[in-house]
């Protein structure tokens, strides 16, 4: 740039005005002093400066653009700390745990879920499944005849047979399956 200062002339001066306009603050810093000296010494410089100054004033008159508060807020709402860290939701794990717990309640052990690679079901689905199973079990064991298809007396007899089987094992079957009332005695 020092070399340019040495060769400041009308051509370079005109080039600087064409590019940067008439305001010395916009001239290249390394050539500013030489330009100002040239302008002061050259009688033609005044007209050239005036021609560029008119455009400078139009450009400088453009109103500033002020950002809205909403834009500032939007930008700041996305700052690094404001962005919540990506966390894995724990819900699927709880759902799986519920199924394992259900199996545990039926005596199947907590490891069965892992062994069977049980699907990850929502907790609500598991709850509905458990309720349905319990209700079905209740109906089957203690429900009315129109549901179970077994009369009350027949159910009583069946219960008695069950009690004999539990007490004497398969022997009752060896006796021909006569589980009459007297044989119980």
């Amino acid at each position: 740039m020092a070399e340019r200062e040495d060769r400041m002339n009308a051509e370079r001066f005109a080039r600087i005005l064409e590019a940067y306009g008439a305001d010395p603050r916009r001239w290249p810093a390394a050539e500013r002093a030489a330009c100002e000296a040239f302008a002061a010494a050259d009688p033609q410089a005044g007209a050239a400066l005036g021609a560029e100054r008119a455009l400078d004033e139009l450009l400088d008159a453009l109103p500033p653009v002020a950002p809205s508060l909403a834009l500032r807020t939007r930008i700041l709402s996305a700052t690094p700390r404001a962005t919540p860290p990506l966390a894995r939701p724990a819900k699927p794990e709880r759902a799986r745990g519920s199924l394992q717990g259900l199996l545990g309640g039926f005596g199947l052990g907590g490891g069965l879920g892992e062994t069977l690679a049980l699907p990850r079901l929502p907790a609500s689905a598991l709850s509905l499944f458990a309720a349905s199973a319990a209700f079905g079990l209740y109906l089957g064991m203690a429900g009315p005849a129109w549901v179970t298809g077994v009369s009350e007396s027949a159910a009583y007899e069946t219960a008695k047979v069950d009690a004999v089987v539990l007490a004497f094992g398969a022997r009752g079957f060896e006796d021909g399956g006569d589980f009459g009332e007297g044989s119980v005695q």
Binding site: E18, R26, E57, P63, P64, V65, S68, I75, P80
Partner: protein, 223 residues
């Protein structure tokens, strides 16, 4: 001279935006004087603090640069809504990449301008046909200021004239006149030599004078 962001050099050719390059302006080597500019970068400490999640640093950076980013995008795009989108995207990139930003000779503000310029170029390229056929929106009118009507009208015509310039001439003029950049900073933001910048500026100003002189009432003569 160039900023590295996430291992990617943010230079125009890699972003594909220099398809708008004026063929008369040859791309030149980086400006050597810009290398020393990063040493006293007033934003460097802020960027480092932002990388550590410092909210106050985020606010300071936004207040320092948002008006200028928005103003640049507003005048480049001629659309206030798109300008807001661009300004927001610029800062989102800061938040995302602050921890990986390295000066490499460029001031942070220069990198900000490059990001904004490239985002504007992308949008201008997408709607180039529309911009050719339509004038940009009128400048926001001054409220209850009848005496300022003429100034608002002049401003809107000047904005329209700027918008009609080729993109790189327009960018060069906005960087030097509106953004207050030195020739070295503007050349670095545009990634061209000083000589190329002066060529863009001179041709842009010449074209502006032609347009504004031809306006009804001769805006240049009215000043």
């Amino acid at each position: 001279m160039r900023a590295i962001l996430g291992g990617v050099r943010w230079t125009a050719p890699q972003r594909g935006v220099w398809t708008l390059t004026d063929p008369e302006v040859e791309r030149q080597p980086p400006v050597p004087d810009a290398d020393s500019a990063a040493a006293d970068d007033p934003d460097l400490a802020l960027v480092r603090a932002i990388a550590e999640g410092d909210q106050e640093a985020c606010r300071t950076l936004v207040d320092r640069h948002l008006p200028r980013m928005l103003g640049l995008a507003r005048r480049m795009l001629g659309n206030p809504h798109e300008a807001e989108d661009v300004a927001q995207e610029v800062f989102l990139r800061v938040w995302t990449h602050a921890s990986r930003w390295r000066p490499e000779g460029a001031r942070f503000e220069t990198w900000l301008h490059r990001v904004a310029i490239n985002l504007c170029y992308d949008r201008l390229r997408r709607k180039r046909e529309v911009l050719v056929d339509e004038m940009p929106e009128e400048a926001d009118p001054a409220p209850n200021a009848e005496t300022l009507y003429h100034e608002a009208h002049v401003a809107s015509r000047v904005e329209a004239a700027i918008a009609s310039l080729p993109d790189r001439q327009k960018t060069a003029i906005l960087l030097c006149h509106q953004q207050g950049m030195t020739n070295i900073e503007a050349a670095a933001a545009l990634d061209v030599s000083i000589e190329a910048l002066e060529s863009l500026l001179a041709r842009g100003r010449r074209r502006l004078k032609e347009i504004l002189s031809a306006e009804a009432g001769d805006l240049l003569g009215g000043v």
